[in-house]
């Protein structure tokens, strides 16, 4: 349980922070796209008897770079680029799994998440790679935000926005893959988007938004893991539903606050 909590909280910080940029860029689907496309890497690794997460992580870097290339260098829009990669990766994964003989219990845990499958190797991978991503986000925070919010302004200030766009795409892709064992391919993008969707209802500035999204993300994972442990429910789905419940409560609360402010003025 301790291993699950530590890795879960680390992933929550990563996805909570990255989610603020992803939501600002209106590319909430990227999490789904990369996670689903990574099925190809996981299936290939299972078939060859290799470690699935490192193979999926390497593949995700290529997928993220390719989505970026399609978006920027062709007339294909972001959602189209993501949809093409999403379905292609899934299709390759399904065909590869067709050649995998027998029952595939491991595959089910990759699809839906299973906290019990996180071993100490996974934990150290999450901490080490997660730290590299956090340092990148901390060092390049202003430049990533500038390239995200005002790419023309960033270019005019001498920044090369494509570098920071790629840093964001690749960091998001790798963080998504690190989260697959906890939440599963099918559900992982929820933790990228839900904390930011809640945080922006109450934030007064982008700094406030970032801190709040990270805190909410940690809260969702902690409460979800606890509920999953004590109610004996699947970890990924419980975490996602905890987030949804919190979002609904927050939405109603923000609506009531706005209504009260209107009445008082």
């Amino acid at each position: 349980m301790i291993r699950a909590l530590v890795s879960g909280i680390f992933i929550a910080i990563l996805l909570g922070w990255l989610g603020t940029f992803v939501v600002t860029r209106k590319m909430s689907l990227i999490g789904d796209g990369i996670a689903h496309a990574s099925l190809a890497g996981i299936a290939l690794a299972l078939l060859l008897g290799w470690a699935p997460i490192p193979v999926a992580a390497i593949l995700s870097v290529f997928i993220a770079s390719f989505i970026y290339f399609l978006e920027k260098k062709t007339k294909i829009s972001s959602d189209m680029a993501i949809a093409v990669m999403f379905t292609t990766g899934m299709a390759i994964g399904i065909i590869l799994l067709h050649f995998y003989q027998g029952y595939q219990p491991e595959l089910v845990s990759y699809l839906f998440g299973n906290i019990l499958t996180i071993n100490s190797n996974d934990l150290w991978n999450i901490i080490a790679i997660g730290l590299v991503i956090l340092v990148c986000l901390f060092v390049f925070y202003r430049k990533i935000l500038f390239s995200t919010f005002d790419p023309v302004g960033a270019y005019l200030s001498g920044i090369k926005p494509w570098i920071y766009d790629l840093v964001l795409y690749i960091s998001t892709a790798v963080a998504i893959i690190l989260s697959i064992k906890l939440i599963g391919i099918i559900l992982v993008s929820a933790l990228l988007v839900t904390p930011s969707a809640i945080a922006r209802l109450f934030s007064k500035s982008f700094k406030h938004f970032t801190v709040l999204a990270i805190l909410i993300s940690v809260m969702i994972v902690f409460a979800g893991l606890m509920a999953s442990y004590y109610l004996d429910l699947p970890s990924g789905a419980t975490i996602v539903l905890t987030g949804t419940l919190l979002f609904l409560l927050s939405f109603v609360l923000s609506f009531v606050i706005k209504l009260l402010k209107k009445v008082n003025t």
Partner: protein
């Protein structure tokens, strides 16, 4: 002799097979206040994007301070016609303006405050960008362009969404910066009266360059008819 700051030579720009700009040539001198006029779809914004290097000319060249645009880009301030963003993203005016850092110690919080005051905005730093009116937002964009004392300022219809009084304030401010700091200003505008009052050079554009020169020589019924196809002209309020 006045130094040439922007030199556009034989510039043609195509979107696939569509010719947006056809063999444009002009020179802008240091400290000039130049206006570009032309009907909708005449290539004004495309021309500005070629000048700042977002678009690369299909044929011809743009030189700024005798160099490629991307080599001197930090010396240019630009106010776009449209700035699209998700208005629900909670970013404050201060955070937006502080995104650009230039290393000058004086361009700090006080300067952001001063730049906002110059465009007529007080106590607005903590407001969310998405909650500003169209006019307030346009003023923030202008304040942002003024912040780092750029040598060239390019405005693409800077008074969009601003009322008549506000429009006057904005153009007075641009003129003041042009005179006091010697900043070279390039403005795209639909307002012929404004152009006539503030600019010292006018470039008429309708995919091709129709004419250029001082407002008095360029804004004539013949040129305007050629440019807009109807009897556009200056109006006088008495």
């Amino acid at each position: 002799m006045t130094k040439s700051v922007i030199v556009v030579k034989n510039l043609t720009y195509k979107f696939d097979d569509f010719i947006a700009l056809d063999n444009i040539n002009f020179v802008i001198e240091q400290g000039a206040m130049t206006a570009i006029i032309g009907p909708n779809g005449s290539g004004k914004t495309t021309l500005l994007k070629n000048i700042i290097g977002i678009y690369e000319p299909t044929v011809g060249s743009v030189k700024i301070f005798d160099k490629q645009s991307n080599q001197v880009i930090k010396r240019i301030g630009y106010v776009p016609q449209k700035f699209e963003f998700d208005r629900d993203i909670p970013i404050t005016v201060y955070e937006f303006m502080a995104l650009e850092k230039c290393g000058e110690a004086k361009h700090n919080q006080t300067n952001i405050h001063r730049a906002l005051r110059e465009v007529g905005l007080n106590d607005i730093e903590k407001n969310k960008l998405g909650e500003l009116s169209g006019g307030q937002f346009q003023r923030v964009m202008i304040a942002k362009a003024l912040l780092h004392e750029k040598e060239i300022l390019i405005f693409d219809e800077p008074s969009t969404g601003i009322d008549i009084v506000g429009e006057q304030t904005i153009y007075d401010l641009i003129k003041k910066i042009n005179k006091e700091r010697g900043t070279t200003c390039l403005i795209v505008s639909h307002e012929l009266n404004i152009v006539n009052k503030y600019a010292n050079k006018v470039i008429c554009l309708n995919k091709k360059m129709i004419c250029s020169g001082t407002p008095e020589t360029v804004i004539t019924p013949e040129n305007l008819k050629q440019l807009y196809g109807i009897g556009a002209g200056l109006y006088h309020t008495h």
